[in-house]
Symmetry: C2
Subunit: 183 residues, 2 copies
DNA sequence: CGACGCAGTGCAACTAGTTGCATAAGACGG
DNA sequence: CCGTCTTATGCAACTAGTTGCACTGCGTCG
């Protein structure tokens, strides 16, 4: 249940419409908290009812009208409360680990091809993060405040992707050595 | 939607009751695919209806009767199919990353204390995995087949936990340097 | 002019997961 | 003897997330 708070953080950084929020989730926040536009719209509606966010309809020329959301005082207080609240450890679900655990019951070459495909996808995402790191945070040692926070979140993504790529390489090497491709 | 297949893998390894499956999820499979006993029971029911698994009631002395599940032919075929099926990249949700992103809107010392607490919890889990690695896989180079697969899954957990601990250390060091504790 | 994409919003039905509780049999300790 | 724990099973109501679709306004392209 962090979607509300991810939305509050984003709107505190900058007010915006549901559509703009969805775009931010696609490009930035969604790397560490994924949400569909539908979920965002529904959650925004509930947050308006809770008075956590304010909503202003804005007429537009040549485009559909839009609703611009901002954080209300109750939302600000709720965000402060949540930021200090202890949370449970993240629950993990990794379907590739399930597949590797069950590899001997299936077609191992096909599974290895699938793992290689995931490895390449994660390597690509790692490349994206590296480019962002170089472009936006060329000198991490001098970062402070909000920029430092954004950088540290990017670092989580980089570490996670690197860890996955390394793991996939280990899996491919070991299972290929085990004869996984000639059965 | 991999719970069905995690259950199929576990029952292929060894038949068992819903209660036994829940214990296996608590101690082993749950490290990479978490599920509550209630979810397992409900899913088993549906899998019996699909004829993916067989179900035999076993009377017991001094204990409640139990239902023992095994994999049926349809389940075996479904598992083979799923193991070869391409899957979507894992969707990520990390509430601590959301908190770090929003740190400047809250109580930074309290957040740092929370991060330290998570760091210690993950370091403990990493220790548990290291002990399992030493005990069960002292010589990884000679592993083959199913034992190799189990080892590689454990390696995913080790890498993930190590990555998290390293990230938490980076976050704590950088935010403390940024004066996070004297505000 | 119709299809598609971007800029906008949102309903409904569904799946996946969680929580809380309930039941029963036996062992054990206070 | 009562409370707690282990061994067993499972209902119901809920939240979180997904899917598919629908609608509007405008620009572009074939």
């Amino acid at each position: 249940m962090a979607l509300e708070h991810a939305i509050l953080v984003s709107l505190e950084e900058r007010s915006g419409s549901g559509y703009e929020l969805a775009r931010r989730f696609d490009k930035s926040i969604g790397f560490f908290w994924a949400a569909s536009h539908q979920q965002i719209y529904r959650t925004l509606k509930r947050m308006v009812q809770l008075e956590w966010v304010t909503c202003t309809e804005v007429a537009q020329d040549g485009r559909p009208d839009k609703k611009v959301y901002g954080v209300g005082e109750a939302g600000r207080a709720e965000l402060r409360r949540w930021l200090a609240e202890p949370s449970d450890p993240t629950v993990l679900r990794n379907d590739l680990a399930v597949k590797i655990r069950g590899a001997s019951f299936g077609d191992i070459p096909a599974l290895l091809a699938e793992i290689a495909r995931h490895r390449d996808a994660h390597a690509e995402r790692l490349d994206v993060y590296r480019v962002i790191e170089k472009r936006d945070f060329p000198d991490p040692a001098v970062l402070t405040g909000r920029h430092l926070h954004q950088y540290l979140v990017l670092r989580a993504g980089i570490r996670a992707e690197q860890g996955l790529v390394d793991w996939f390489d280990e899996v491919l090497e070991a299972m290929r050595r085990d004869g996984g491709e000639d059965r």
